[in-house]
Every structure is written in structure tokens, then in C-alpha cells.
Amino acid sequence: MVNLTVNGQQVSVPEGSTLLQAVRAAGVDLPTLCHHDGLAPYGACRLCMVTITAPRRALVASCAYPVEEGLVVETDDAEAVAARRLALESLLSRCPQSEAIRELAAGEGVTASRFGEHPPERGEELCVLCGLCVRVCREIIGASAISFVGRGTERRVSTPFDVQAESCIGCGACAEICPTGAIQIEDRGNKRILHTWNTTVELHTCPECGRFFAPEPLAFLKEMFPEAADTWALCPDCRRRRTALQWIEQAPG
């Protein structure tokens, strides 16, 4: 265990933890956008800034900073608070329509932005470029169907060449993880339309009840899980019914 001090309070966290984990272990809440417990540290949104006051002074993003024995950390000193507020004020100017951003900003006392609205040419912008969608697609799903495109103020997320992503399996993890609801996905008939990614995937039909329930590209799962060979094609309801029947048939007596 590593011992450190957060806002005057002693905490012990396992070796290899991040400062954010230590801060949360101390019961202190910090806003985050680009952080997700299931993904590798990224350190991009700069909301979770804290000030290390000893053994050396530094303003750091807590989500990506490994804990060290004896660190003394303040989450609410002037520099850290100013950094959080300016980051939120900037994101508020980028995405004034985003409910999630307005709430986060209000939580830090930021209700209006002194910067002009950006980017005006894109209309209702909800993407804050936290990269969760890109990273969940790469790190967890393993598809890498979407990626950042361009740099600086031109940065955005898209599929290769902005057309149908061949490697997209239509799982929808990107939309699920997006903190601002910027990713539009719709199931229509036997199609799943990922509007944001200019991508459409076929939905699989349950051979028993005829319902569309999962994207076709997920068919690779039957190779990954041979034990499910005769049930993989079923929708969750039919699969549950089939499994229950099997148990009844196999039940002793």
C-alpha cells in the first residue's frame, strides 16, 4: 500500500493506483470527462487537476498521475480550482447546448463563458473530444473503427475517410460511453444506423421469434465461444427460454 495525504486526510491505496483513485478513496469528488475506470489513463480533459504541494509543487491531472509514497495533495487550492474552471468555461463555449457540460460547469460555479461560442459553423456541437469513444472502440472492443481526425481546433472523431467503417461491429459502446450524448445511433427495421459515423450495420434476426436483436458483425462471437454454438443466434429472451428448457430436460428424476 502507498500512503499519501489528500486535503489533509491520510489515505492508503494499492501500489500502481492513480492520484484520482487516491482522491476518491479519501471521499473527495473531482469532475472528470475523459476518465473511465475500464480504460487506460488518458489525461486529456484536464478537469481532474490537483496540486501536489510536497515533496515538490506541481499541478497535475490526477487521473494519469501514479501515486507515490508521501505525496501531499490539495484538490481545492487556487491553481487547481482555476484550472478546472477555465477548462469547463472553455468546454462550455465549445458545447453550450450540452446539458452534461452545463451541469459539470455549474458544479464548479461556472455558468457563463467569456469566450465566444465555438465552433459556430458546426451548429450544435456536443462532442468535447474526451476520446472515450475512440478508446473504448480500440482498447475494449478491439475494432478501432473510429479515430481522431485532424489536429488542434480541427480535431474531431470520425471513421476512416468519413465513410462506412468496415471494422465497425455496430456494438454501440461508443454511444454508451459518451458523456455528452454526442453519438447518434438508431435501430430501424433490420438496420442499425450509426448516424455520427456514416455507418449502417445489418441486425441479426432471431430464428425463433423473428426479432432483430444484435448486429450481424457480432457473428464472430460463435468462433470465440464454441460452447454457445447452438444458442448464439438466439435473441436473449429465446436463449433464456431454450436454456431453461434444457435444464428442465436434464433435471434428475
Binding site: 487537476m49 498521475y65 501514479p66 484550472a83 472553455s90 465566444g116
Partner: protein
Amino acid sequence: MKIQTRSDLDALRDRGLSTLYPSGVRINVGMATCGLATGAADVYRAVRDEAGARGLELTLVATGCLGYCQQEPLVDVRLPGRGRVLYARMTPERARDLVAALASGELPAENALAIIPAEENPDPGQASGALPDVPLIGELPFYARQRKIILRNSGMIDPESIEEYVARDGYLALVHVLLDLPPQTVVDEIVQSGLRGRGGGGFPTGCKWQICRDAPGEPKYVICNGDEGDPGAYMDRTVLESDPFSVVEGMTIGGYAIGANEGTIYVRDEYPLAVERVSHAVARAEELGLLGQDILGSGFDFTLQVVRGAGAFVCGEETALIASIEGGMGEPRPKPPYPATSGLWGQPTVINNVKTWASVAPILARGADWYAGIGVEGNAGTVVFSLVGKVANTGLVEVPMGLTLREMIEGIGGGGLDGRAVKAVQTGGPSGGCLPARLFHLPIDYETLTQAGSIMGSGGMVVMDEDTCMVDVARYFLKFTMAESCGKCTPCREGTRHMYEILTRIVEGEGTEADLELLEEVATWVKAASLCGLGQTAPNPVLSTLRYFRDEYDAHVVEKRCPAGVCRALIELVIQPELCTGCGLCERECPVGAISGEKKEPHIIDPELCTRCRICYDVCPVGAIEIVR
């Protein structure tokens, strides 16, 4: 042939000496990118053709850069028995005249810039006496305070000749290291030398090597960062173009010291000649067994690959550079962990700048104490700057650490261009700050420049005079960093844009005093909260100009006036009737037809049509156009 022993190397050295100092004439034409841009290739061809026509036998070599870019194309002539003279601002015609004189056994005085003394010429002859009015090269103010270690061979040798590199003591260090020194001793030497990272960070090189050497994990890697991208800076390009073997040898020594068998030279793709030269050097070293398996029979294996940069400024940031080599997007990641413990492919990696690597071999050849004795306490050795902007002498300059800015700008640089007063200097490129002339007493070292609000950086040094608007300068650099920000972290992506927009309002005369406060607040945030070095230093041009040139900001905001007469929205161009001769030149050149008048009568400018492009100001032969500020 493989180099296996010291005597093999001696044979290589002898071949190099025979071309460096042949019995006939040797002519070096400076043909790094800077020379080529001024027409050196034409000069080279003129020399070759004229010598051919006259039957003059000579050794004609396309060398790298001698540093004095202002005077290019430069031609260095050695006539055995007569001496060695450097000729400046050559043209094909002047080159033909030069060859004609050489054919009759003379070193002419025309266009002679300096005499190259005996240490660079084993057979000096009578040149000094023959050309009494030509100074020794060390007497030129531009060269007087320089000390060349990193640029030791630049412009002196054929960059494609390993023989000439060896003839000037190249590979002595590697032989000494591989045959005489255990790896830890090599690291100790670098620690003792006091060498610090010449990419601009100034981290102690030996300390970095030690951390990497001690880090668990195999394999380990070394990387050369040649992704130089600062506007107005070309130090690394010049080293790679002019003396690529110095980097190859340095990296081989580094690999041995930390226990790496593979290295990568990452070169900016916009430097095609540097890519070509360094690739050639790697191939040649492999051919001779100075790279590859069991180098010099020591049992040490080392290979190098050249990777061309991905075209983004941010790839000069070490973690972004590593991501780029791995095939990912050039984006930085948070540190720690530092590359020395977790770098390329997650393995311990030493990444150093071109100039750092080029400093390694001389340190090992001549000893840590020799190097530590150059420069000042805590800032050992030499540093290379590209001295550019509104300064009389521009070029590539290598000086001992601790020289003052004044010695640099007024001594080596010869003061302002056309005798004008120098107002400020920017060190460290777009990440650096602008320091005012009243601070020119400051010594050039990492700590002093940082405390003053600038940085050492990789070596850009841009001189500015009274015609430079400091607000406009800050805006120029912010435009650069805004475009080059990778966009990953919020402060750098959004903050550089906020700053650029505020600065745009100010130069357009729309700025308010609240804007100045907001500008400072944003700049402070971006500096403190950004993920990588690009964002952390991007506000320096803003913060330093706010600190030292606040009066110029106030003039723009309060008086709506640009004191330097640069910002278009705040100036007006007027023809002074008592000076105007009515020649009509401005009327013909004006791209928007804003100027009118009768022949031989004073003309006038219509302020409604005028775009303040200043073409009239530049073309007026009598200086009748006034900029009303």
C-alpha cells in the same frame, strides 16, 4: 572491408586526409539547404565546368554549412603552398573568375571573406602575406566568439565521406569506448561532463542515460530526435546535412552505454537532404562494420533505422515522437512514466536531440573534464543557435554557454539590420519568450532564460527591431501553436485559440482592458495545465510580451495605436506632398488602385481603398510614403 582494429581506422583516416588536403586544389562549396537556397548548386557547376574547360585538376566537394548564411554561397579554396581562403556571396560568374585565377596559381582577393588559418590547413603557405587586407576567419566578428564542437565538421568535410569524418578524429571516441571502457564508465563520463539536453529541456543527459541503464526491461532503445520544427530554426537540419556521422557515432556510443542494440533516427520529413545524408551515413557505417554485429570485435551489436517524421510539429515532443515511430498518431501522453523507463514499445528508451548526440563523441574522445571546462558552472559546453531576424549577420552560431545575449546579438550578430536599434530577441522558437534589449546583459543558460520568461529551446534566436510590433509577434506565434496543437488536451486546444482570438481583437483595434486580463488568465492556465511541453510553453510569447512590452498592448487597447506601425487596422499610409516627385511608381504597383495623381505632381492615397499592404512604402524611391501610427 570491415573496420576491426585501430590500424584499419588509421587506413581510413589516411584516405580521408588525402582528399581533405590533396596535393592539388581543393574547393568546398557549402551545399547544405541554406547554401542551395542561395544558388550554391549553380556555383558548384560553374566551378566544375570552368575547371574542366581550363584543364585545372581539383578536388571539388559539396560540403555542408559553415554557418555564415548571410554570406552564402560560400566557397572555401585551398591552394597548396598558397593558403586557404573563404570566398563569400559567390555567383557562377564570380566562380568562373575565381577558377581562372586559380588556374594561374593565384588566390585572388576579390570576394575573399577570410583566411582559414593553419589549424584547418596543414600547409598554410603565403596566403596571409598574399592577401594583406583579408582577415583571418577568427578575426571576423561573426566567428570571433564561436567555439565549434557540435558543428566541428560542418562545412569542412564531405558529409558523405566517412573517411573525411575519420580524418578529423571521427570514430576515435567509439574505438576508445568499445575497446577500453565498460558501459557504466561511459555513462559516468557523460554525467561528469555536465552535458544537458540540447533539445531545449536541459535535462542532464548522463542522468537520463543512468536511469535508462538501470531500468528493468530488455530490449532498450536509443532515439535521435531530429523533428526540428520551430520557425526560423535550422540547427538540427544543418548537423544532419553537414556531419551525419557525428550523430551516428554518438548514438552508437549511447547504445553501448545504456545497453541498447537498436536505435532510431527520427528526421523531419520536410528535410529531404537531411534524410538522404543521414540514411547514407547509416548505410556507410554498416558497410564498414561500424554498425551491425560485433562492432570492432567488441561483441557489441548496434543497428540504426531512419524514420521520416509524420509532418506535425508536436512530433518533436518525445512521447508523441515515440507514438509516431510506433505507427500511431503523433500525440503526447502524460508523464510519468518517462521514456527512460517506458518509451518505445514500452521499453526503456533514451531519446536525445541531434545536437546532444553530436556532442557525445568529442566528450568521450577528449574527456569529461575538458567539456565541463567549457561554458559556465551548471551549464557546460556549447550551444547552437540560428541567429535570424533583424540582425546584421545571420547564420548558425555555436558558442560556449554563458555568453551574454549582448555578445551574441551585438558581437556575433553585428547589431541591428541596417544599423537600426534592436528592440527584443526571442529565444526558443514559438515556445520561447521575447526578451527586451534592457535584459541583453543576461547570460545564455537554461535557468536564466527560463527565469526571464523565455526558454533556451532548441536554438532559435529571432532578433526584432523597432519595426516589429510585439503584439503582432505574439499573435503570429500563437497562430502557429494553435495550428500545431494536437488538440488532445483542453487547455492547449481551446486555450491557444482563445489567446489567438483575443490577440486578433487587439491588433484589429477592438481589444479592451478586460481582454488583457483575460489574455493573461488564459495564458497562465494553458502554461500550468497543459498535457505536454507544446502547450506548457505555447503561452510564453504572450506572457513575456505582456511582461516586458505592456506599453505596446496598452497603446493598441487604449489609444488604438500600433507604435511599430505594423497592425493594419491601426495605421494609415499617407504620401507627403513635399517629398513626392510624382514618378507614378506607387500608382503602378498599388494592387487595389488606391493611389492617383497627375504625372510629376504629388500623388494621394485613398484611405478607403488602401489595404495597408505597404507595397508603395517599399517601392517609393524617395521615401515619400509615411506610416501614420
